[in-house]
């Protein structure tokens, strides 16, 4: 009898709930029963409440069991889980689980499916098709410009948060004359409520590598760096191993897939600075300096890393590129709405029953995400506020939960999609406290270069304290807070100070009662 293929994630979200212990118990139990298994430590399918999620390959497809604890192993084996048999933890075919089946997995198509570090598995699931296509294009008459054009045509916009058209950025770098250009991946995913970069790097690292090599071919860069935050040791380890294997296989190095073109890649570790997620601060950090924001212009595309033209994009932006090249820009462009094309891996987090990763085309609604996928709060209480787009994103009140999730629709109400993080708060949340936290976080993490952010954040904490502390001139303090936010919004060098007012003002506007203020009539909150 040949070994049964069994999958158990090595993603940090599975490790954090005991996946290693479950793997050990499973190996031991199978050994003592003489049952032959081949255990694959895959990425996560993104259904976090089901981790550790055990999958068994059967002739009828992969059957899921979860969440599996060490104590469940004997019972599962007794029930015949290795044949995909019924058990109270059995969830049926993995890809038929509604949470998964209702998604459009594009950049996450392979995450949770393949063995993350197996080059053979990657290739068998369509890996390197985009790169081969890019090499063919680069050899043709169009050269790198023709690759750039494909990315422009796809409508891909930067997934880090700013939503700038990726292809336009690449075009600027392509047009810049320099002997050395760089490709830099921003994997400094510091936003609370986000984890898609981490999941992709742990679950399908070669996709990121492929996207970066294509970028190098497109703009004429031969060196790339992946800057990964130090809070992600598992992602850093996975990426380092993937880079080593891809180099040994001749995909990275002096002769990319035998094309005669060079592309080298190195992973670098951040050091716990949130503002290094801002692209110019990240470049400073890569250069070995304090992560201080640079004034723009010059754009990094013209004077980036070590003063050279640099493409700097988010993990998910690069990871979207292989599919665009392999299937053509029209296939990617077909997803989404308006000027927001393609898909976004939303991350459902906070006080939500079914948290995880939900990749959908732009245009779904927050209500659909939080209730249709997330099942409401984990506490069972009423949803009070949903913060979309990380610590610098607005608190979105119920009156806006039916807006389409696209860049323009959110911008129109003073909110942002950011990196796709969605953090749910129930009705025990104190919005004034969360607003104060936003200012406090900004004070702690400010790089200190510009005054509105460095000083404004500290003054912001003080003003909010006076408002909630029942100051006798509370309304004056509110005017002061709005004035301060206006200065930060318009006077800060980067999004750290410039967007901290988003959570603060949205909390104040939509939840005035939490600040001890009179509630204007007709406010949904």
């Amino acid at each position: 009898m040949s070994a049964v293929k069994v999958y158990l994630p090595r993603d940090a979200s599975a490790l954090a709930v005991g996946a290693d212990e479950v793997a050990d118990a499973l190996r031991l139990a199978c050994q003592s029963r003489g049952a032959a298994i081949e255990l694959v430590r895959n990425g996560s399918r993104g259904m976090a409440w089901l981790e550790p999620l055990l999958e068994v390959a059967t002739p009828g497809g992969r059957i899921a069991y979860g969440p599996v604890a060490v104590e469940d192993i004997e019972g599962l084996l007794d029930a015949g889980c290795l044949q995909g048999a019924a058990h109270p933890l059995c969830l049926g075919p993995t890809e038929a689980i509604p949470y998964f089946a209702r998604q459009q997995r594009v950049s996450f198509a392979r995450v949770g499916v393949i063995d993350p570090l197996s080059l053979a598995d990657y290739e068998a699931h369509g890996g390197w098709a985009g790169l081969r296509r890019a090499l063919a294009i680069a050899e043709g008459t169009g050269g790198g410009a023709a690759i750039v054009q494909q990315v422009i045509d796809s409508g891909l916009r930067g997934r880090g948060g700013a939503g700038f058209p990726t292809g336009i950025k690449w075009k600027t770098v392509l047009g810049a004359a320099a002997t050395q250009k760089y490709i830099v991946c921003n994997a400094d995913e510091g936003d609370s409520g986000t984890f898609s970069d981490r999941m992709l790097m742990e679950g399908d690292p070669y996709t990121l590598i492929e996207g970066m090599v294509i970028a190098g071919l497109a703009v004429g860069a031969t060196q790339g760096y992946v800057y990964i935050r130090s809070e992600y040791p598992h992602a850093f380890a996975a990426m380092n191993e993937a880079v080593a294997r891809a180099s040994a296989a001749g995909i990275l190095g002096a002769d990319v897939l035998g094309s005669g073109r060079r592309f080298e890649l190195e992973c670098r570790l951040g050091a716990g600075s949130y503002v290094c997620g801002e692209e110019t601060a990240l470049l400073e950090s890569l250069e070995g300096k304090r992560g201080m924001v640079r004034a723009k212009p010059p754009l990094p595309a013209l004077e980036g890393l070590f003063g050279q033209p640099t493409v700097i994009n988010n993990v998910i932006s690069f990871a979207s590129v292989p599919m665009i090249l392999a299937d053509g820009p029209a296939a990617y462009q077909a997803f989404g709405v308006g000027r927001s094309r393609g898909t976004l891996p939303f991350q459902l987090a906070g006080n939500v029953r079914f948290g995880g990763l939900v990749e959908l085309p732009f245009g779904a609604t927050l209500r659909e995400l939080v209730f249709g996928f997330g099942g409401g709060t984990r506490s069972g209480r009423r949803v009070k506020a949903i913060q979309v787009g990380g610590p610098l994103g607005s608190y979105v009140p119920e009156s806006q939960w039916d807006l389409p999730l696209d860049y323009e629709a959110y911008a129109a109400v003073g909110a942002v999609l950011g990196h796709g993080g969605v953090v749910v708060h129930d009705d025990t949340a104190d919005m004034a406290k969360l607003a104060r936290y936003a200012m406090e976080f900004c004070a702690v993490e400010s790089c200190g270069k510009c005054t509105p952010c460095r000083i404004g954040s500290t003054r912001g904490v003080e003003v909010i304290d006076r408002i909630v502390g029942g100051s006798s001139n509370r309304l004056q303090q509110v005017v002061l807070l709005r004035d301060l936010c206006d200065t930060m919004l318009h006077g800060s060098l980067c999004a750290m100070g410039g967007m901290t007012p988003y959570p603060v003002l949205s909390a104040l506007d939509h939840y005035p009662a939490d600040f001890g203020l009179a509630v204007p009539q007709k406010d949904a909150a």
Binding site: R268, A271, S273
Partner: protein, 167 residues
Amino acid sequence: MKNQPPDTAGPAPDNHAAVVAELIAEHRDRPGALLPLLHAVQHALGHIPASAVPAIAAGLSLSRAEVHGVIGYYHHFRAQPAGRHVVQVCRAESCQACGGDALWNAAQQALGCEGGATRADGAVTLEPVYCLGLCAQSPAMQIDERVHARVTPEKLQRLVAAMEAGS
């Protein structure tokens, strides 16, 4: 790395200079060498002693102020040794929405250690962390190299007891 247990069994302080010199030689020719070098020093010694700064500065042709400024800028780098165990509790929004404040207080109590400090016996350092990327299973924490999610008060007690028994 902060995420790894400080290497208290590592080289004795009088050996630090030799270790640092070796690491400088290994890293000095890399572009933007300072952060990788500081990571390597902290990994080897558990912290970046002030005595290492002049050598690092000279090795990378930087001023001591520049090196000192970088060490001080990043939360991850330590100028002082940490406790034998490092416990980090996430304080960011997603965990706040799931009882993160209570977990932070419970951790201080269970460890007998104030947040942001090292316990008097040197066994444990408790620190806030701003997001471990486990936000779909908040609240989350990390003990040395191990991450833990969906941490209930009971789970916290179990984890702390196991950690203390192991030390």
